[in-house]
């Protein structure tokens, strides 16, 4: 092939360009620390890089979730430990109280201390994590128990995603954690204090006819449309009359009607004779101690009686009228058992969280090194290549300089 000056210059320029391009690429890799800038330079690596980025982002978030779950559980655990101390103290008092016949004053002092413990227990149930009540289920904006120690929260689990698709329930509801304990306290208190006479019967939420439907051998819902109920409270006869749509009354509607009618017949205003307590509808005398009396006069065959299945309790209290029994102690034992089991469960979960946390950390390190392997430059290697490329470039410049210079013209003189 015939070679002209322009061919030589063109070839040299082409090679210089090529070498400069290589140099530029290596320089760019070194200064950015990355093997590529655009997906077209390495499409597969680029999409893997994107994947690593999003996985790292996930791991980062899951670590935060685990931390959050851990601190929530720590709060729960320490509240339960406090609760356990209160229960232990209450159990000791119960044993002390059951040990001997006590004077009324001693009993009252004991009752006062139990009352203190009870309110301490209620205060513990109001433990918060941030501004959220930890024992209210998902109803974290509401106190778990109201002043009557009725559970206000719900039974739902608060879950944290701690790994893709893996969730852990982190909360203990008030029902699981404290209801037994409060009930044990209430029993102890009423056993210590006695109280007024009352009648009570089980009644669920919803309307009366719904409650009837849910009962085994309950009355026909239609029979509840009109009914009457006769009571005697402290010697005063009371007639409760519901004339129509009785079946549609809800539990709280029914309580309101009872209170209205009893108040007017007892000659009092706005007193609470009837109330819902521990799932029972309860009607009581307002007189304290032995003088209180209440009885139901209505025939047991009446549908309303079948629905409610009233039980009567005598007025208790007064010296020697009521001894603390082993059932009081066993209630506390149960509550303490439950508390311990719950804490053990939390402990196990916290262990699992720790494991998860360290696994997430391992995963993060792995991902980071994979990502780095995928996109970062091997500095030593690149510097070597750069050096090589530099010498190639210099060689091409030098040879270019030689190629350019001589023409025949130089030798004509």
């Amino acid at each position: 092939m015939r070679i002209t000056n322009n061919v030589m210059i063109g070839n040299m320029m082409q090679n210089l360009q090529h070498n400069m391009k290589n140099l530029d690429k290596l320089n760019q890799q070194l200064s950015s620390g990355k093997q590529f800038r655009f997906p077209s330079e390495a499409p597969i690596q680029a999409s893997r890089s994107m994947d690593f980025n999003s996985q790292l982002n996930n791991v980062d978030q899951f670590k935060k979730n685990v931390d959050q779950a851990n601190s929530w559980m720590e709060t729960t655990e320490s509240a339960l430990t406090d609760g356990n101390e209160v229960l232990q103290r209450a159990r000791e008092l119960t044993i002390y109280g059951a040990n001997d016949t006590m004077t009324e004053t001693e009993r009252e002092n004991l009752a006062r201390e139990v009352e203190e413990l009870r309110s301490e227990l209620l205060a513990i149930t109001e433990t918060r994590h941030g501004d959220r009540y930890v024992f209210s289920g998902q109803a974290t904006d509401e106190k778990p128990f109201d002043e009557n120690a009725e559970y206000q929260g719900d039974d739902r689990k608060i879950r944290r995603e701690i790994n893709p698709g893996v969730e852990m329930a982190v909360n203990v509801t008030g029902r699981e954690g404290f209801e037994d304990a409060i009930e044990a306290m209430d029993h102890l208190l009423s056993d210590l204090r006695g109280g007024s006479a009352r009648v009570y019967g089980e009644l669920g939420p919803g309307t009366l006819s719904e409650a009837a439907t849910n009962m085994e051998n309950g009355p026909e819902p239609g029979e509840l449309d009109a009914f009457s109920l006769e009571l005697e409270i402290d010697g005063t006869p009371i007639d409760i009359d519901v004339e129509e749509d009785g079946g549609d009354l809800t539990r709280s509607d029914f309580v309101d009607i009872l209170n209205d009618q009893i108040n007017s017949q007892m000659g009092t205003t706005d007193e609470t004779y009837a109330r819902v307590r521990n799932g029972n509808l309860e009607i009581r005398s307002l007189t304290d101690g032995e003088d209180s009396e209440i009885s139901i006069e209505t025939d047991e065959a009446e549908p309303i009686m079948q629905l409610l299945n009233f039980e009567e309790t005598d007025a208790a209290g007064g010296e020697g009228s009521l001894m603390l029994s082993t059932s009081d102690i066993s209630r506390f034992d149960n509550a303490i058992d439950k508390n311990v089991t719950t804490r053990a469960e939390i402990g196990a979960k916290m262990n699992r969280l720790d494991l998860t946390q360290s696994r997430l950390e391992d995963q993060e390190i792995n991902l980071r090194s994979l990502k780095s392997e995928n996109e970062d430059v091997d500095i030593a290697e690149t510097i070597m290549e750069l050096r090589m490329q530099e010498s190639v470039y210099q060689a091409s410049l030098a040879s270019g300089a030689r190629v350019m210079q001589p023409t025949l013209l130089d030798f004509l003189r």
Binding site: I3, G10, R160, E161
Partner: protein, 566 residues
Amino acid sequence: MNSFSSINTALSALQAQQRALDTTGHNIANSNTEGYSRQRAELSAARPYTSPGMNMPTTAGQVGQGVQVDNINRLRDDFIDGQIRRENQAGGYWDQVSEGLSRLELIYNEPSDNNLGNSLNEFWGSLQELSNDPQDSAIRSTVRQRAVTLTDTFHSLHDQMSEFKSSINNDVHSTVDEINSIIERIGDINKEIVHIKGSGQQPNDLLDTRDKLFDQLNEKVDARGSTDSRGNLDISIGGVKVVSGSSTNQLEIREDPDNNYEDTIHYSNIGKEIQVERGELKGLLEVRDEIIPAQLDELDTIAREMAEHFNRIHSTGYDLDGQQGGDFFELPDEDSGESPAQLIEVSQEIMDSTRKIAAGNFSDNPRVAEVNNPGTGDSPYRYRIRTERPDEDGNVNFTIAEMEGDEILNEFSGTAEIGESFELTEIEDAVGEEFSGVVDDVTITLKSRGEANITLDPSEGSGENATALARGLNEDQLEGLDNTSVNKYFEGVISSLGVDGQRAEQMVENSDLLKEQLNNRREAISGVSLDEELSNMIKFQQAYGAAANIITTQQQNMDTLLGLIR
């Protein structure tokens, strides 16, 4: 044969060597002119002279009459020219495609920290935070802000791509202008060439200029040329003549009636739209009409599928006011033909109040059972749903229990299809009026094995829907996205763009290499070699000197001869 004939011979040599020397000078002068082909004075011996005689020649043989310049030719290989032009067409096409693809890569800006992938990741993170702290107003604001960033990213990608499309449209205009100008000039040169050829001369330099223009035209578009006997170069593009002798048929641009930056190119004489296969123009049209619209479509698909899926999950949850979630994102109507990527917005309701973000779910485990409660609201009852492992046909045995506290009021077992929705009242009918807290219009969809508690009484601390929403972004596989998740699909878009870009770049490199080699071949034939020209110069100079010496010698001969008379 007279004594002066050798002077004439020498004179012809002087003239011929002079012409040759002139040509050499011309070659040296144009040694760096692009498109120039070296020229050569073709010399031949002049017709010999036979001495006249009465009967027979008395002198030996014919005597040469010197030299003559037949022609000044340019050295050119038409076959290589054809190859170079074809390679120019391919090179022009791939240049534009590669350029377009790398601009798109710049617009996507992946992988880096400031782009759609990252916006999606950050939005996902804020939803996870929301599931941890569903009632926290600061976190709710963060979720909203991240969502706005995401929609802004969609808008900005869409706008940048549209802008790019409009700039490519402008490039189409200027390319067509250039083509027209080349066509016009070739027409003019044809006229001159025919004129000069007619007068029996060889218009070498005009031919070079025309060839160069034709090379340039072939970078822009795939043009075919044929030379006729008179020296005209006729050119056709897409099978229609655009240069025929000195008359030309220009291309004209018609504005896109839809204002979509897709202006079309027509032949001005017949009005037909042109068809091009290669060249810059083809590359530009492909970037404008196929590559950019395909990316805009991908963006629209991602925006629409992501937003619709997100809205669907959002509507299964409830907000801080206990209301069922509304639309989180607003999209243009599917029939309107408007671009979702351009118009996607966070809904006004959520912009007005972050309380409207539906982080809560009626089911505490939406992966097992999803509840859709159109706001019929509070029932104190709780349902516990337990499902077993689905069988091969996707049917699942389940029990659904109505609870109060931890007490089971009623229980019902049945079988349902995975993903099938049924109303709670259907269960009530099935158990025969035993469920007590049933509310109309509450539908339940079973999803997988496990246990879920369902309350219809919303509470603020519920963050399950936020978790479900987060999953919607990077786990749920969407049918409209080829059964991949949103972020995987996006990764796919970027990587296939990268693969296309890589291929285009390689094609550009290949074509550059080929062009370089072909150019070297052309240069080997047509290029000026200074060494060669200098050698020729010396050769012609020596011959000129020698010829001059002949005249001197002849003169001396004459002097000698004339001296005899004196």
